[in-house]
Symmetry: C2
Subunit: 417 residues, 2 copies
């Protein structure tokens, strides 16, 4: 089955908005073994959208379109769908009833402009939107199923899950399936990883390997294609085992996990508790830790100590060390980690202090100089890093390196990077 995704919106062509919808749809379909073969983006232009729908309908079995169903004048997708399929726009009673119910549930007055969102192509089937005001719909054009969803990502996502996946699956006839599995690697270059894994796909028919840099990590994507779904799962497991064997403890996550969920799981499994003391990352590490539900079970406290006073008053970093070594130093990182551990009464405490830039660098401590320290019952170790890039990049790689320290500590792996 050939599926295409059509993203609609001037904001996408102007680069004002990144198109996350098409990625989410493609990923969800890929989970079901359905490959997206083309993605196309066009602007909020009725004739242009209609032409794109006709073009995609010719070469594909299913086209999923997002965007342009809102209540404002620039939303013309329903009109374009009517034009492409030679239908009229009519008031859809079911859409109107749902819209009134939606506002009643929120206890709000319906804005008259929202009424426009109930004008859909004649004989289009409604796709309910439980999360917003824009109803979706689907209809057929020359045997191709055209599906229309709003562009607001949270609304699109719930409609995809509740209605669209089953609509698409009902049209599948072929038996070819695809299953994918991703392993996240940290600390090796893409070329090095590619070289170590170069023969894996050749040695396993039906298995493909691809690489994707998600700075500062590299994702190794394994894809198995074939008719027997059980065999695909075994093939992926076999491939993942080979990757882990060749890349060792640089594989930080796999099997649907991320480095953040791995760290969360390890804290739960070990029963350890954590405190953080952040300077240059300014709360980014705490933000990653607390993004995971259940983190209150092991994360006791985070201190974002930007000023020297905060480092002294809150974490007890001695003033003479700050004066002699500077705030960005191994001694201060260690004192921050020890101070945070004492303050929180936690098993582990991790601290970072560094220069994210663009200002604040010096000849002996240039922008990108970062110290990470980890304190536990046995003591406290610290290490200096020299990262490159802009402020955002330096903060990101620092936060991920810190997450890797936690992962390695909880797995009793060496911190050798």
């Amino acid at each position: 089955m050939k599926t295409a995704i059509l993203s609609i919106g001037d904001e996408l062509l102007l680069g004002e908005v990144v198109d996350t919808n098409s990625a989410r749809i493609a990923a969800r379909l890929a989970d079901e073994g359905i490959a997206t073969v083309r993605k196309l983006t066009v602007g909020d232009d009725e004739a242009g959208i209609a032409a794109a729908l006709q073009e995609l309908a010719r070469g594909h079995d299913v086209v999923i379109a997002t965007g342009g169903l809102g209540p404002t004048d620039d939303d013309v997708t329903a009109r374009a769908a009517a034009r492409a399929t030679g239908r009229r726009l009519v008031l859809n009673d079911e859409a109107m009833a749902r819209l009134k119910e939606f506002f009643a549930r929120l206890g709000r007055e319906m804005h008259p402009a929202n009424g426009r969102q109930c004008l859909l192509p004649a004989k289009g089937e409604l796709i309910p939107n439980p999360a917003g005001t824009a109803s979706g719909f689907h209809l057929l054009l020359d045997g191709c199923l055209l599906i229309f969803l709003p562009g607001v990502p949270s609304e699109m996502a719930v409609m995809l899950e509740e209605s669209v996946v089953s609509l698409v699956l009902a049209r599948r006839s072929g038996r070819q399936h695809t299953r994918t599995s991703t392993l996240t690697v940290f600390g090796l270059s893409e070329a090095e990883i590619g070289a170590r894994l170069s023969d894996i796909d050749r040695s396993r028919p039906g298995l493909g390997v691809a690489y994707c840099v998600e700075y500062p990590m590299v994702q190794v994507k394994l894809r198995a294609t074939g008719e027997d779904e059980t065999a695909l799962t075994a093939l992926l497991e076999d491939g993942a085992a080979m990757v882990r064997e060749r890349l060792g403890d640089h594989v930080v996550a796999g099997g649907g996990e991320t480095i953040d969920t791995v760290v969360a799981r390890l804290f739960r499994e070990t029963g350890m508790t954590l405190a953080l003391a952040e300077s240059c990352t300014g709360g980014l590490i705490a933000g990653r830790i607390t993004a995971i539900a259940g983190s209150s079970g092991y994360f006791l406290l985070g201190a974002v100590t930007y000023s020297n006073d905060a480092k002294s008053n809150l974490l007890g970093v001695p003033g003479d060390i700050l004066a002699e070594q500077g705030a960005v130093s191994a001694e201060v990182a260690r004192a921050m980690a020890r101070g945070a551990r004492k303050l929180a009464g936690s098993d582990l405490a991790l601290a970072v202090t560094g220069i994210a830039g663009p200002e604040g660098g010096s000849p002996d401590k240039p922008v990108g100089t970062v110290f990470i320290a980890l304190a536990d019952r046995a003591g406290c170790s610290a290490k200096v890093y020299h990262f490159s890039g802009d402020r955002e990049k330096i903060r990101t790689i620092t936060a991920i390196t810190a997450m890797d320290w936690l992962r390695r500590r909880l797995l009793a792996y060496p911190i050798d990077r």
Copy 2:
């Protein structure tokens, strides 16, 4: 001039990666008044890429392709470019010299796999990559300029800036320009905003208005099109003034600013200092504050107090209030804000405590219940919110509402939401 963007990569069609490159390219070209009229995504398939290049070359003046120039086996874009243009792949000496220099500069050994990245279509012109190993190149096909860039976003971005923009501008002949301006709105629905602004574009020839929900905010996009660049700037300024007049203090940012940079600017301008105490947002607010360079000038300290002990020990929240009112209460939010202000010696201190879910809710304090408090010299105010959505959504809207509190406090606007 008609420009198209071709994104290449199986990971994009599988939805494993969100295509930020095409948005960045489109935004940069839009800055120069060059409209992207179509974006297309295809997989890592030599024949498919070649066909897409030929298809796009027929209808456009410039095609910018990204992805598939890496050192691994799944990178086939250079071969596809050669096929589409009927050329051979040859070793490009300049690319090889640059690659050797790149590794020498890093003090690293070049991996043999990287040599593949120097095989480019014959007579293709090199586009240097100062940030990585994949050289870009450009060549002509039937009068259309084809530009090839690597898919790693940071490398693509620097090559776009240093080489591609000038290559594209050199081919521009038309005189039609587009200028855009975005205003960010918080606290009004898209329908309400659309209704208040419905006549703006009709009253100003050449001015267009579009809306984009970037939860929980709405972006109002003004676009001016015409031949006279000075007039476009005036038209945009006029439009922005009308938007501000009609939406009042709900306009949180405009003129290239974001709510985060507005808050940063206001702290700099007022000379005020800030401390934060975060529970359910777990560092997100501190992360936003410290993402802005220069934040060390006003941001003194952030406390991520997830546990009750941390709230007591660090911020001095009285144990009896925690016991009687619960950690998620107006009294605790106020005590956290006052405690953070005292600890940091700051002018302002903002605190949040709430239930982000999915666990932890109760009948009288369901998931989404959030208290925000702000302490200053004059006292401390607090307010309860009932947000809906999943953990990520509740944390995001809480953080943005907190940023809006800071904005309103620094501008002496009422906090009335």
